[in-house]
């Protein structure tokens, strides 16, 4: 017998699952990504490098800037270009904006209704309007950062190889400093709320992240030092899904907020670090549902860090100079932490500046195997215990904990 879960709601994109039951026992779970394929790697082939980040941004709306930045970094590495600290800090601000916007959407509008027993945030707002408004305020601030650094709330083209189309003004930096400070209180409240969630899903054993907090030169895991994705991560095509599945040393693994906290707690800002310590024991169990709590702690981190960066830039003053790019043949990988975890863009570029090889691996594809494992565990636990409706609700919550971004997962090129 196969129990079909209808398409998931309150996640980004279109996916569903099948539970395979034999002799009254749950035997298998298949997570099906039914979103159609989008062929981004093919789209970028033969394209001039300068236009590529704007195209890659369209992979995903929730994390468009992570795609632009990963793409720009891969291009800069291919050309051997290093950008100065100012440009790096501004990119980081943009990524922080994305983290805030994405985590706030997920926590307040998509997960919170589960905690209070509503089908959505709009209906939840009748009783918990305050909470919804707090979430919207954080989200709006995140988007403001994306708009100013990235050029638009969604799919801006301001992030360019070597710099920006337009640099922020002093007034805009001051606004970042002010607002980030003011919103901290709300984020701390969110940590309390999400700390109350009980554990569910699988316990992850392997965690992978970039070696810096929001980007890196390489990847790290809880088992070894730094490595390139080609050394340890392997992708497989599936017959029942448009998204491929990745394994790390042959095993399912977790990327995202929980992985970042567990692997890189040392780089946290003061208040975020305190909150992490307070909840360390829980988080270290590795239950994938604690990803929600980890995201709430990252709201605090992001606001503190945005404040720091705005201050630094205001003190130093902005030069606003782009680095010239000299085209040459080359290869580069950009590693960025999108809100949902490690994002990889890898290109080879020819002597006239056209991309001739491109590979993109998104966090949802990296988490795909872990998601299936978590669904299997919850299905086994709940089958026969819970009525079908509650079982399905629980399984949806389990998928939601990963905050999957299905649109981004469906266009992985073959290796």
């Amino acid at each position: 017998m196969i129990i079909e879960l209808r398409e998931f709601t309150r996640v980004e994109g279109n996916g569903k699952a099948e539970i395979v039951v034999e002799d009254g026992e749950v035997k298998n779970v298949r997570l099906k990504i039914v979103e159609g394929p989008r062929f981004f790697e093919l789209l970028t082939l033969g394209r001039h490098y300068y236009d590529v980040p704007d195209l890659e941004a369209r992979i995903c709306a929730i994390c468009y800037l992570s795609h632009s930045v990963a793409s720009v970094m891969a291009i800069e590495r291919a050309f051997g270009v290093d950008v100065p600290e100012e440009i790096q800090l501004l990119r980081e601000l943009g990524l922080i904006g994305e983290l805030l916007e994405s985590h706030a959407l997920h926590l307040y509008l998509l997960v919170a209704p589960d905690i209070f027993g509503y089908p959505d945030a709009i209906r939840m707002a009748t009783k918990h309007g305050e909470l919804v408004r707090e979430g919207l305020a954080i989200k709006a601030f995140g988007n403001r950062l994306r708009e100013i650094i990235g050029g638009r709330e969604i799919h801006g083209i301001n992030v360019k190889p070597g710099g920006f189309g337009r640099y922020p003004t002093v007034e805009e930096l001051e606004l970042f400093e002010r607002e980030s400070g003011a919103l901290l209180k709300l984020a701390r409240r969110a940590v309390r709320l999400f700390a109350s969630l009980e554990p569910y899903g699988e316990k992850a054993e392997h965690f992978v992240a970039t070696d810096g907090y929001l980007w890196g030169d390489k990847l790290v895991s809880n088992e070894e030092g730094t490595f390139h994705y080609t050394e340890r991560i392997e992708e497989r095509s599936l017959v029942y899904s448009f998204a491929k599945q990745s394994h790390y040393n042959g095993e399912p693994f977790l990327v995202g907020a929980l992985a970042r906290l567990l692997l890189k707690a040392d780089s946290l800002t003061p208040m975020a670090k305190r909150l992490f310590e307070e909840h360390r024991e829980k988080l270290a169990t590795g239950y994938v549902s604690y990803n929600n709590l980890a995201q709430a702690i990252e709201l605090v981190y992001s606001l503190e860090r945005a404040n720091e960066i705005a201050k630094t830039l205001l003190d130093k003053g902005l030069e606003g100079e782009n680095i010239p790019i000299a085209v040459r043949e080359g290869e580069g990988i950009g590693y960025v932490e999108a809100p949902r975890g490690v994002l990889i863009h890898h290109y080879r570029i020819d002597g006239s500046g056209n991309v001739f090889y491109s590979n993109i691996i998104t966090p949802t594809a990296l988490n795909h195997a872990m998601m299936e494992l978590s669904l299997l565990r919850e299905a086994k636990r709940g089958y026969g215990e819970l009525d079908e409706c509650s079982l399905i609700q629980r399984l949806e919550e389990t998928v939601r904990a990963f905050d999957p971004c299905i649109s981004c997962s469906v266009h992985i090129v073959k290796l």
Binding site: G13, L42, C60, K139
Partner: protein, 246 residues
Amino acid sequence: MMEKLKLAVFELTDCGGCALNILFIYERLFDLLEFYEISEFHMATSLSGENHYDVALITGTVSSQRDLALLKEARNHSDYLIALGTCATHGSVQASVEGSIRKKLEEVYGDKGNPMRALDSKPVVEYVAVDFALPGCPYDKEEIYQVLIDIAKGVEPVRKDYPVCVECKLNEYECVLVKKNLPCLGPITYGGCNAACIRSGLGCIGCRGPLPGEVNPASEYEILKDLGYDEDYIIRKFKTFARWEP
């Protein structure tokens, strides 16, 4: 009290941006909810199961059998159907990838046939008649807000049919095509974004789709050629958001 209109949001294959952008209306979402009740919105609510919608917004391209079935459902059950965003109106980036679906699947997924029944990506408007089309990758959220308010008040919304250039002039932005020699598609692209990219000092990449009618793609082509861009580059640029023969 007036009966609220039933609003549905359907998402076919896309980046999620056009659905997400509705939530970016923020507090004013509550203003819209004075007139509308959300009956179907996959990304935002777990409720669904209505069989009639007064207004339906469709985002994305038809890229699989699932998309096609969903689109037909939506059309059959809605009074007023809006193709929302460039994916739905022109196909956007995924529809601009050339080649047959089989070939593309093989290149990306290896030799596995087509078990998930993917189709060649096409805009919604190629399959069903729509009552209104609002392009943009993504569309401007002020515009959809206005369109929904108009419909609620019984006014037929107006479609913007001038190029991005007009909005540059209104904002007094410096022309990046003339002043910086950037390949800007503003002269041949549907306006309505308030010249968002030119505000950043960058050229329009044509995300709202090609504007038909009086505009002149041939002369845009000549201008770019004179600026030294090669033919292949220009054609690819033109065809980024729509399959289009300039």
